[in-house]
């Protein structure tokens, strides 16, 4: 049976798109790898984050805010369909500053974003140490202030991924693990997707393969210049709730664990662990929250982000092979709602590139030529 849409990649991006497409009544097949793959969706920090998103691209600032606004609807629908509690909480969030230099940098970023027009800095503002402590009493004496946004929040990203997979299965989405895609052959307006377990035909094909997109983009005349960026995350023992709002690089989960994140290193596809980075992350967390000084770290890991040259998403339909798309981004948790609710339906309509002009990879050609 020919699918309407074949999605390459079953991470948060591909799963959110499959969910959105199934709500439009499309027949969807998702082709994924096995458990040995690079999968940012299994190793991320779980923020639904708006502040600081889109410094340099007003459209991305608006898109992130839009997604945060759509999130309660996505959560309600997924919980109703699957019974899975995603633990979404959007109480606002802060990014604390240690030292005046950090405070000035954050303030400058807000000013830059305000000057971009559109949604500006999405209501983010600087708050002083007293106001920050009223929001988060456990902040330590080194914190001189913070950037605050009322639109920030967090979610359990593993429950999100499971809920999407569960809802998709119930809706008849054909999910196929161990179907690594080897090549895509345009075939008279549709596509033959060659997998390690044989071919799959589809009217449309969406590259949502994270770091795997770069090996397939040329087959459908797209360019996806993304690269890995390694991030480390630490998780503590469970503590009674002490942190009501997410604090950028520190958040307490609903179950009580505290997560510290997340570093950024360019080490290619190396998912190894670097103790010096862990020490830095723990040290920062302890300076922001001295009460955590004796808290035990019980888990730590690294995972690879999928970064475009400017850090913003790439959404594009192939001009040479219409019906072939790429959808990739760094903040796939934050953007899950926008992907499912706003972007997925547009994969079935004409005019995709007009709707998402700002996110075209052509922006990188212009920079290279300038």
């Amino acid at each position: 049976m020919r699918a309407d849409v074949a999605i390459v990649g079953g991470g948060l991006v591909g799963s959110a798109l499959a969910y959105g497409l199934s709500r439009e009544g499309a027949r969807v097949v998702v082709l994924d790898e096995g458990d040995d793959a690079y999968r940012a969706s299994r190793g991320n920090f779980g923020l639904v984050w708006v502040q600081s998103k889109g410094d340099g691209m007003a459209e991305y600032a608006a898109w992130s805010r839009n997604s945060a606004g759509l999130w309660p609807g996505l959560e309600a629908a997924l919980t109703e369909e699957t019974g899975i509690d995603l633990g979404l909480r959007q109480p606002g969030g802060i990014e604390p500053c240690i030292g005046e230099a950090e405070y000035r940098d954050y303030a400058a970023q807000i000013a830059r974003m305000e000057a971009q027009g559109g949604v500006g800095a999405n209501d983010a503002r600087m708050i002083d140490a007293d106001e920050a402590r009223r929001l988060v009493p456990a902040l330590g004496p080194e914190v001189v202030g913070a950037r605050y946004s009322p639109h920030d929040g967090h979610v359990n990203p593993l429950h999100l991924l499971r809920a999407l997979h569960t809802a998709n299965a119930a809706r008849g989405v054909d999910y196929r693990p161990h179907h690594r895609v080897i090549s895509i052959e345009p075939d008279n307006g549709s596509f033959v997707v060659q997998t390690e377990r044989g071919p799959v035909s589809a009217g449309r094909v969406v590259l949502a393969a994270g770091l795997g997109n770069g090996a397939l983009d040329k087959d459908v005349a797209l360019t996806v210049p993304t690269a890995p960026e390694r991030g480390h995350i630490l998780v503590t023992e469970r503590l009674a709730p002490f942190l009501d709002i997410p604090v950028g690089r520190v958040r307490q989960t609903e179950e009580g664990s505290v997560m510290f994140g997340a570093s950024a290193e360019d080490v290619g596809f190396d998912t190894g662990l670097n103790p010096a980075i862990f020490a830095d992350i723990a040290d920062r967390a302890r300076r922001v929250f001295p009460v955590l000084a004796n808290t035990r770290i019980v888990r730590l890991w690294s995972a690879l982000r999928i970064m475009s040259p400017d850090g913003f998403p790439i959404y594009e339909e192939s001009v040479e092979h219409p019906g072939a798309f790429v959808v990739t981004c760094h903040s796939g948790v934050t953007l899950a709602a926008a992907h499912a609710i706003d972007l997925a339906p547009q994969l079935l309509q004409p005019g995709f590139n007009q709707s998402f002009q700002a996110f075209s990879a052509r922006r990188f050609d212009v920079q290279a030529a300038a």
């Binding site: 402590r133 004496p141 503590l239 002490f242 009580g256």
Partner: protein, 104 residues
Amino acid sequence: MFKRLPNLKRETVTLSFEGEAIEALVGDSIAAALLAAGVESFRNSPVSGASRAPHCLMGACFECLVEVDGIANRQACLTTVEPGMAVRRQVGAPVLDISAGGRS
């Protein structure tokens, strides 16, 4: 429920669980000592409140958490008994004292 092998010839140590003396063998993990003494509930879950006891006995599951000499959330299966150790059930999750304005 659990019985010791009959021919173990190790020295004994005394520790306490919830204030009551327990005899263990030198080299026991706290988990082995408590299980041999018939303890069935090591902690209760901070999420559901349900009673829990060791599951994997090898450090992976965190079901065996107890409080040892005042320190919360220690894995009983990875901690060796010592004479005089005061072990208590881990009740819920430890509470941080943030009254000092975040100073530890």
